[in-house]
């Protein structure tokens, strides 16, 4: 995967995705290796992010790499009206790999075409967030011991959530069963559902979260955004039906893990945090190992 940009999850084959997970396992055992000692990683965040940027910078720092970049564009040439093309071409001269987040969809693909160093997409608008997808796969495989044959529930905003779209697409390569829990207004789009159908996988759609809890191996929660509703009354009616509380988790499979891409607002009650099934903070930690695996494999070191 040397010099291969990662823009969209399907830029990598299933085998290449699994290889990243294998390398990430090694980094989990030993995250402090001086592999990036003579390398410069650029992190260009044209839009704010806490978790993703810090996780990339932490991943590179543990490996001894140097980091250049910005976390918002307020004191950069972007404010002077510099084009994305020029910013990327310039930064490519100063670094070995570029990690970028940008509010416009397609910006990362465009950057990878003008840059002579590889680009890792850390989120382009509502389009793709492939490193989140890889860390989700890593977390699922780690907690369940496998990626095949699992029953996975996605809950909340299945229409606009880019994490859900990439993960459903990736899991469709494995023999999973999907439970899709959402209000009618926020159902999984047919352009994503097609991946489930093409692989002849079983799926089940419902509006009721309690119906799926006893049967699933993974409960993947997402945030429902108020601004997605045209009628505020509709939002008021359903907002509480997707809040996970500890007393809803009495009758579950013992291997159940609750995941969330974070940040959460109120969709997982804080009393769930101490439940043995809660996994979202560990999930965020796994992001460091997965990003170490990606950086080193793209730089041809692993």
């Amino acid at each position: 995967m040397k010099n291969r940009s990662l823009i969209s999850i399907n830029d990598y084959t299933k085998e290449q995705q699994l290889r990243i997970l294998d390398i990430a396992e090694d980094f989990e055992k030993n995250p402090r290796q001086r592999l990036l000692e003579n390398y410069v990683v650029a992190t260009l965040f044209f839009e704010p992010s806490t978790r993703t940027r810090l996780s990339f910078e932490s991943a590179a720092s543990y490996l001894g790499g140097k980091i250049i970049g910005f976390s918002d564009t307020s004191n950069t040439s972007v404010q002077k009206g510099e084009s994305l093309r020029d910013t990327i071409k310039t930064v490519a001269n100063y670094s070995d790999v570029i990690v970028m987040r940008h509010p416009k969809e397609g910006s990362a693909r465009f950057a990878s075409e003008v840059s002579h160093v590889p680009v890792i997409n850390a989120g382009d608008g509502a389009n793709q967030h492939p490193t989140q997808c890889l860390l989700d796969l890593y977390s699922i495989r780690k907690t369940q011991g496998k990626l095949d044959g699992l029953n996975i529930a996605f809950v909340g905003d299945l229409k606009y959530g880019r994490t859900v779209h990439s993960l459903v697409q990736a899991l469709s390569q494995f023999n999973c069963k999907f439970s899709l829990v959402s209000p009618l207004e926020l159902k999984l789009p047919s352009s994503v559902k097609i991946h489930i159908k093409e692989n002849n996988l079983e799926y089940f759609q419902t509006t009721n979260i309690e119906e799926v809890i006893p049967n699933v191996d993974i409960l993947y929660m997402t945030r429902i955004q108020k601004e997605r509703f045209s009628d505020p009354m509709d939002y008021e009616k359903i907002k509480n039906s997707y809040i996970l509380k500890n007393d809803m988790l009495q009758n579950t499979k013992s291997n159940l893990r609750i995941m969330h891409p974070l940040p959460r607002v109120n969709e997982i009650n804080e009393d769930v945090d101490d439940n043995k099934s809660a996994y979202y903070f560990q999930q965020a930690l796994n992001g460091v190992y997965v990003r170490q695996a990606l950086l080193t494999s793209i730089l041809g070191l692993k």
């Binding site: 084009s83 940008h102 969809e105 397609g106 910006s107 465009f110 389009n127 793709q128």
Partner: protein, 152 residues
Amino acid sequence: MTTRKEFIVSAIENGTVIDHIPSKNVFQVIKILNLEESDDMVLFGTNLESKKYGKKGIVKVKNKFFKNSEINKIALVAPKATLIVIKDYQITSKQVVELPDDVQGIVKCFNPNCITNHEKVETKFNLVDKEEVKLRCHYCEKITDKKNMVVR
């Protein structure tokens, strides 16, 4: 023998006839080909009878022979159009336009948040549905379909 349609839209000596255009897209074809600016004779007809399609439109351009890139543009609004090259009142070639698998620089991405609508980037699409004319943007991965297609 001339057919009825050629009585309605008269024949040309040399040039191109674009036949089997959906009637409502005739003006779009004229615009795409920039025929409004043409100094040559341009004839057109809409809602003509067609055995194949019920009703159709037709455009005839005197002394004009189209390049491939122009033909691609027509295919987006008139996927079943036939291009007939006329020399000395005789048909010298007849070709059904075909949608290209990759469309570059012709169509605007309908997604307002797509990078191609903010930076100087040539648009690029993959044809994902030939029948319905659905184009997936190479950059933002959103689908632009017939009803929100703007041809540049």
